[in-house]
């Protein structure tokens, strides 16, 4: 998801304290920043919340790519508001991570030098206006499936950030679907754009949930700690099951010849994405990986003088106030 392939960090804590901690989690207690927590819990959360935050910030870029070309004033305003919300979500998440004793600047530097990742989906390009529809419909649709249960995650600040994010996200998927409806009911060129967007973004959307749980050795600990609520395969299945009828409604074809309703499991059988491509993207070999980090690096470097100057001005103001007293 927005936090893919998060390794649970090893923990070497006092077994008695660990047992008490686990009991609190099992009882549904929220863990707060000043509470005792296993070192592994803290580190895993920093990694997971940080990666989630980075995904929101890098996620601004593929959609930001179309703000200046939005085809009407209303679409421009909606898209800008949506991409702005993503900046807000990144901000809430960074603040949640900061309660664990890491600064936003440190997290940013880890994103820029590659020590921390962002969701694979945002390394893909947005090539036509229909991608604004498909990103909202598919990518936000997938994200919501993951984020709604995370409102119940065990770490208080993370859970509270997710509550706020989910509240704000509710219009994102709908605006995407609204764009798709306009496209499929439009001209031949618009229909072509819509199908093309689905063709390109379908498998990258499936990848968002991460590789199969069978291959993930780290899920178990994270699930025991309630910082991961559902399995990857379970959420992916749910996504496919909810999206196929929506594609049918739009009159679009999901690019999977093996897609078939399976009565026994009450869900669709579908093809897995190319997982070697997924691992390539995570390693920084996505179609837009270089551009995405370059854009963030540029914003960071070019903004340094502004951040510094504001601090310098605040210090001067404080000094002047003291002198006047």
């Amino acid at each position: 998801m927005y936090a893919q392939m998060i390794k649970s960090e090893a923990t070497q804590d006092d077994p008695v304290k660990l047992a008490v901690f686990q009991k609190r989690i099992d009882a549904g207690d929220k863990i707060e920043p000043k509470d005792w927590m296993p070192e592994g819990y803290r580190k895993t959360l920093i990694r997971q919340i940080g990666q989630h935050a980075h995904s929101e910030i890098v996620g601004q870029l593929p959609e930001g790519n179309w703000i200046t070309r939005a085809p009407s004033l209303e679409r421009k305003a909606i898209l800008l508001a949506k991409v702005q919300d993503e900046a807000g979500h990144g901000l809430y998440l960074y603040c949640a991570a900061e309660t664990l004793g890491v600064s936003r600047d440190e997290l940013t530097e880890m994103l820029l030098d590659g020590r921390m990742k962002y969701s694979s989906i945002f390394a893909y390009p947005t090539l036509t206006w229909a991608d604004m529809g498909a990103v909202g419909w598919l990518v936000d649709g997938a994200a919501i499936l993951n984020q709604v249960p995370l409102q119940r995650t065990s770490f208080g600040p993370y859970a509270r950030a997710m509550v706020r994010i989910c509240k704000e996200e509710s219009f994102h998927q709908r605006q995407g679907f609204d764009i798709m409806m306009k496209m499929v009911n439009g001209t031949a060129a618009q229909k072509r754009m819509a199908q093309d967007a689905l063709d390109r973004l379908w498998y990258p959307s499936l990848m968002m949930f991460g590789p199969s749980d069978a291959e993930s050795v780290h899920s178990e600990q994270s699930m025991a700690w309630k910082i991961k609520i559902n399995g990857n395969d379970e959420l992916r299945q749910k996504f496919v099951d909810q999206t196929v009828p929506q594609a049918e409604y739009l009159g679009l074809t999901i690019p999977d010849e093996h897609l078939k309703w399976n009565e026994d499991k009450g869900g669709y059988d579908f093809s897995q994405p190319d997982w070697s491509e997924f691992f390539d993207v995570l390693k920084g070999n996505g179609p837009c990986s270089t551009e995405r980090i370059e854009a963030r690096q540029k914003a960071w470097d070019n903004g340094a003088w502004v951040r510094e100057a504001r601090m310098a001005h605040a210090a001067k103001k404080r000094a002047a106030k003291l002198a006047a007293e």
């Binding site: 200046t68 070309r69 939005a70 800008l80 702005q84 070019n302 003088w305 100057a309």
Partner: protein, 232 residues
């Protein structure tokens, strides 16, 4: 009024995802959203008065550069954060005076738009003023950048007060209010008002825009122009 807000809103929206801090990114998007909202009102009213079933979008997306009546100031490129905020500050100072004048306009629809906008722009000016003061006063480097931004943009100030037949108000009368706020803020920002009052002209009359506007419109209008039959 609508072309000013459209062109500046478009310029500001270019920043989304690239600002010096998340808080600034969000704030700039808010200002851009206000300006796009005001554009819908102004161009909506203009289209309605024009008749023939025109819409705000028709005016935004299907006119060429020479039909735009925006100030040269707002079509200037973003360059860096300092130039962007200085441009914003100078425009906000004019914009607020203009809107205050328009709240008393005889045309009820014009005064209604002005009354709605004046609240938004009061905040825009507060924020851009504080930013210009902080960055002007901040460090040696930031002071230099802000003085350079002011020097670069000052030649576009005069046009804001040059009257022409299309004005909705007496623009020359806006100058004292503009000067008072600008001068007080520049002093606090430790910045020096340029000596020369040379003023480029031609944006608000449409007679001679800068080269930048054409590029902006080529981007902004590309979809509706390429697919004239499409509804989005």
């Amino acid at each position: 009024m609508g072309d000013n807000t459209l062109v500046l809103g478009q310029r500001l929206s270019e920043w989304c995802g690239h600002a010096p801090a998340l808080e600034e990114d969000i704030a700039m998007a808010n200002t851009a959203l206000d300006l796009i909202g005001q554009t819908q009102l102004w161009l909506g009213l203009a289209a309605e008065r024009k008749g023939q079933g025109h819409s705000a979008d028709d005016l935004a997306y299907h006119r060429d550069a020479w039909d735009f009546r925006n100030l040269l100031l707002v079509e200037q490129p973003n360059r860096d954060f300092g130039v962007t905020m200085m441009r914003q500050f100078l425009f906000d100072c004019w914009h607020l005076e203009a809107l205050k004048a328009l709240t008393a306009h005889a045309d009820a629809e014009i005064s209604a738009i002005a009354q709605k906008s004046v609240k938004e722009v009061t905040y825009h000016r507060e924020r851009s003023t504080d930013t210009v003061i902080a960055l002007g006063d901040g460090t040696e480097q930031s002071h230099k950048k802000m003085q350079a931004a002011l020097d670069r943009l000052w030649p576009y100030v005069g046009e804001m007060f040059t009257a022409d037949d299309d004005d909705l108000m007496d623009v020359a009368a806006l100058r004292p209010g503009f000067d008072a706020h600008v001068m007080a803020s520049l002093t606090e920002a430790t910045l020096t008002r340029p000596d020369s009052d040379f003023a480029h002209q031609g944006g608000k009359t449409g007679a001679r825009h800068s080269e930048h506007l054409g590029h902006m419109l080529a981007t902004m209008q590309s979809l509706p122009r390429s697919y004239p039959d499409a509804k989005w």
